[in-house]
């Protein structure tokens, strides 16, 4: 049953990617400017040059033919070559280099979100209305309201320039250097998103802790640890897992700004460059990969929900 559910979701995901790629291709086609302009600048070129570039990049072909050619290549696992961002380089190679960095950054930030957001949210939910709850809620409100741009610059100035604890830009080489370079961007990303997780976890815990079965467990004299882990945490995990999925998707989309400020050549800056230069193969490849990542993250969240909550399993079985 689960296999059918997963297959259905993957099938729907493929259709969604197809629609997404067609929409993006259409929008790029409709937007002013062509890859040729991006390639030449607006230097007025000789007719021979324009012809040769049109032939090389098939720019004179009708829209449907261009899209069909791109799709046919994708089916053969060929995302084409960049026109202007990294002229002549295979899009797959560009994405491989950029995606790895963005994934590392997203995972690092997610780790920080989990280690900070989850315990604080639980503690605030359990101690509702007390000093700790008020302090955590205030901190979360401040974190969620702080403009990421300001926070990034402040962190860079304090920890990069004044204290010199972390590098100001770049990616570094090797594991230790990479961790050092990604710390400030990951902290910036995690600050805002931890606040989201804190609020979600707090609300879920508050809801669970007020349930009759928790009061009954207390009356039975069960240890607070057992009540927290077996009853409260398990029952509160569903909304938390759902919000974690959203956070991971947000991490992928939020990296654009963070990558720009911290000079990280990730997928976000690549997409910005590609759109600015109307580099259609790079935009299409990036959108396809990001879309697939979002679909896979959502699928993983759903599967995790099936594991932790038998009620969801039941619904899935009926649905399948």
């Amino acid at each position: 049953m689960i296999a059918v559910f997963v297959l259905k979701r993957i099938g729907a995901g493929v259709v969604l990617l197809l629609v997404l790629s067609f929409l993006v291709f259409s929008l790029l086609s409709l937007s002013p400017g062509t890859p040729l302009q991006a390639l030449l600048g607006t230097r007025t070129a000789s007719p021979e040059l324009i012809d040769s570039l049109n032939v090389r990049y098939h720019l004179n072909d009708p829209f449907v033919v261009q899209y069909g050619r791109w799709l046919g290549d994708v089916v053969r696992l060929d995302l084409g070559s960049s026109i202007s961002v990294q002229g002549g380089t295979a899009v797959g190679d560009i994405l491989g280099e950029r995606l790895a960095l963005t994934a590392e950054l997203a995972l690092y930030a997610l780790l920080l979100v989990l280690t900070v957001g989850l315990p604080l949210g639980m503690a605030a939910g359990i101690r509702r209305g007390r000093r700790l709850d008020r302090a955590v809620s205030l901190g979360a409100t401040m974190a969620i309201s702080a403009p990421a741009f300001v926070m990034a610059i402040v962190l860079l100035y304090i920890f990069g320039v004044a204290l010199k604890w972390f590098p100001v830009y770049g990616t570094g080489t090797g594991f230790t250097e990479r961790v050092s370079h990604l710390t400030l961007p990951a902290v910036t990303l995690a600050t805002v998103l931890s606040a989201v997780l804190i609020r979600q976890t707090r609300a879920a815990m508050m809801n669970v802790m007020s349930q009759d079965y928790v009061a009954f467990a207390r009356l039975r004299g069960l240890s607070p640890r057992r009540i927290l882990v077996r009853y409260a945490l398990r029952n509160a995990s569903l909304p938390v897992i759902t919000s974690l999925g959203l956070i991971l998707v947000s991490l992928l989309s939020s990296t654009l700004f963070i990558e720009q400020v911290f000079s990280l050549p990730g997928i976000g800056t690549l997409l910005l460059q590609a759109v600015t230069n109307t580099d259609v193969p790079v935009v299409q490849g990036t959108v396809l990969i990001l879309g697939a990542a979002v679909i896979l993250i959502n699928l993983a969240v759903d599967l995790l929900s099936l594991v932790v909550d038998p009620r969801v399993r039941l619904v899935a079985k009926e649905g399948a």
């Binding site: 002013p32 991006a38 007025t44 040059l49 380089t89 280099e97 830009y169 000079s263 050549p265």
Partner: protein, 547 residues
């Protein structure tokens, strides 16, 4: 013949590159004096172990000819694949791989190559390599072919000799070849036809550096031990991509970056405020102007155009748009484009000073409008480009001033892509803010020769004002072909005078190029010009200082 002539060097990238990257006059410039002293810091001759340059964007490729941004690629790769000659800001040539250049006739250039030069892989530089590199640069599908006008062929004419032929006597042919062509090894290039210029096939050159570890975050160049010429001071050059200006400033504060070409000229003061940082400036050939379509009402009325020309507060706009550090243009071309053909700076300057004055004077503007067919004003639209902040300042300033003439200017935001699309389709008519055009040679034919005349009206053409007169039509062929300086100077002044008298274009300002040097480093020339950056000299000139 006409299609090959005088193409303007405006580009979308130069739109960003010139408006955002070119900067204002340097005040903190501590120019190197003849005594070897730069300000309080003494210039030393010691080697620099590692020097880091913050680049505003990733280099789009390693082959200048195929790069989407040849200027950016050239600024790095000219240290790896050398040019035949370097042209200074003053128009003087410094021999590099070409020992001697002769021009037997207006359409022919003959290069005599330096002896004993080897590529980084140990192979000898041959005339065959040079002829191939010139053809690779100047013929389609190379993007750079757009700037090498009238190129016909490049062939080996002797053991160390290459002859380049043009289809007509193209002005500034030598300068264009010098600026556009980087010499690379033919055997390597032809063996990597499909991926030349990517990280998998970086061109092999004769230059003082070799590319190491290219990646999306930057490029590292290592100095070659076996370089044929004078070794530059930096052993390692790190080009790091830092798109955000604030981050670049912080990197310079932390000492992680030693040089940055400023992307936002208005931040010059902030850069100068960084301890030990020196900001040097040099004039650029960038042109900012107003264009009015002389074929469309109400701009077909000379009095309307004159009224608008007197409504532009150029000094105010320079202050607001470029932080007070740009040079007002008197004619449509900067002095540097005119000096050679005029026979000297003095003659050129004297001519520019004699052009009709379009200073800001709302009294004169009102008087001119009163003489027009639209004395009660009219409505029009001006577009500014989001990616080019100075255009917004210009548009708003114009809107405010023209309000007093009862001219209602609607200011409309657009994107660079949309603006470029209109430019290509020749739909930028009416009142247009022109930016990103660059006079990139020391000859007036470019871009002047492309901005006037019947032959330059239409799609893919740059006559934004649709401007021509019988005098212009007569002078344009003389300007656009090589010939006697006196005749070409007469043609140049005829066209510039016609533009000024008819107020078809209103010249505004030219930004200077600004480069910040971190603590402990200077340029031995005391500046880093647009030419220096494009041909790699900016990094050959760096020296460490003794504080």
């Amino acid at each position: 013949m006409t299609t090959d002539r005088a193409r303007p060097t405006f580009s979308r990238r130069s739109a960003i590159a010139t408006v955002a990257l070119l900067a204002l006059s340097a005040t903190a410039c501590a120019g190197a004096g003849t005594d070897g002293e730069t300000g309080k810091a003494k210039v030393t001759d010691t080697d620099i172990a590692s020097f880091t340059v913050a680049m505003p964007s990733q280099m789009p490729g390693f082959d200048r000819a195929l790069s989407a941004q040849p200027y950016v690629t050239g600024s790095v790769m000219s240290l790896v694949t050398e040019p035949l000659e370097r042209v200074g800001d003053d128009g003087n040539y410094t021999p590099v791989l070409a020992e001697k250049v002769t021009q037997p006739d207006a359409a022919t250039l003959v290069y005599t190559l330096r002896e004993g030069v080897k590529f980084s892989d140990g192979q000898d530089l041959t005339a065959e390599d040079v002829a191939w590199s010139i053809t690779h640069t100047a013929a389609p599908p190379a993007q750079t072919s757009a700037s090498v006008r009238g190129f016909k062929s490049a062939s080996v004419s002797g053991p160390r000799e290459v002859t380049v032929k043009f289809s007509y006597g193209a002005p500034a042919a030598r300068e264009t070849i010098a600026n556009a062509t980087l010499i690379q090894e033919k055997a390597f290039a032809t063996a990597h036809k499909s991926d030349l210029g990517t990280t998998k096939a970086i061109p092999v050159g004769t230059g003082p550096y070799q590319v190491q570890s290219p990646s999306a975050s930057g490029v590292v160049l290592e100095r070659r031990k076996s370089y044929w010429g004078t070794k530059p001071k930096a052993r390692t050059l790190n080009f790091k991509t830092i798109p955000d200006d604030n981050s670049a400033q912080l990197a310079m504060r932390s000492g992680e970056v030693n040089m940055r070409r400023l992307t936002n000229v208005k931040t010059a003061g902030q850069w100068r405020g960084i301890d030990g940082t020196t900001v040097v400036s040099a004039p650029s050939g960038s042109l900012n102007f107003l264009a009015m379509d002389v074929t469309k009402a109400p701009f077909d009325d000379i009095h309307v155009r004159q009224a608008i020309s007197h409504s532009v507060d150029v000094p105010g706009v320079i202050k607001a748009a470029w932080g007070g550090e740009a040079t007002a243009l008197r004619g449509l071309l900067p002095l540097s484009s005119l000096s050679d053909v005029a026979g000297g700076r003095k003659t050129a300057q004297s001519y520019l000073d004699s052009l009709p004055d379009h200073t800001f004077d709302l009294g004169k503007a009102k008087a001119e409008l009163a003489k027009s067919a639209h004395p009660d004003g009219f409505s029009t639209t001006v577009q500014y480009v989001n990616e080019v902040p100075s255009t917004k300042v210009l548009a708003l300033s114009l809107q405010e001033n023209l309000k007093q003439l009862r001219i209602d200017v609607k200011v409309k935001a657009t994107t660079l892509n949309a603006w470029s699309a209109q430019f290509y389709q020749h739909k930028l008519t009416g009142l247009t803010l022109g930016f990103g055009f660059t006079a990139d040679t020391h000859d007036p034919s470019n871009p002047l020769g492309a901005m006037v005349g019947k032959e330059n009206i239409g799609p893919q053409k740059a006559n934004l004002a649709n401007f021509t007169t019988p005098q212009v039509e007569k002078a344009l062929p003389v300007l656009s072909a090589a010939g006697a300086d006196a005749a070409r100077w007469k043609a140049t002044t005829t066209i510039l005078s016609q533009i000024a008298e008819q107020a078809a274009y209103v010249p505004l300002a030219s930004e200077d190029v600004l480069v910040a040097f971190g603590k402990g480093y200077v340029s031995v020339t005391g500046k880093a010009t647009t030419a220096d950056i494009g041909n790699g000299a900016w990094l050959l000139n760096i020296r460490a200082t003794q504080q």
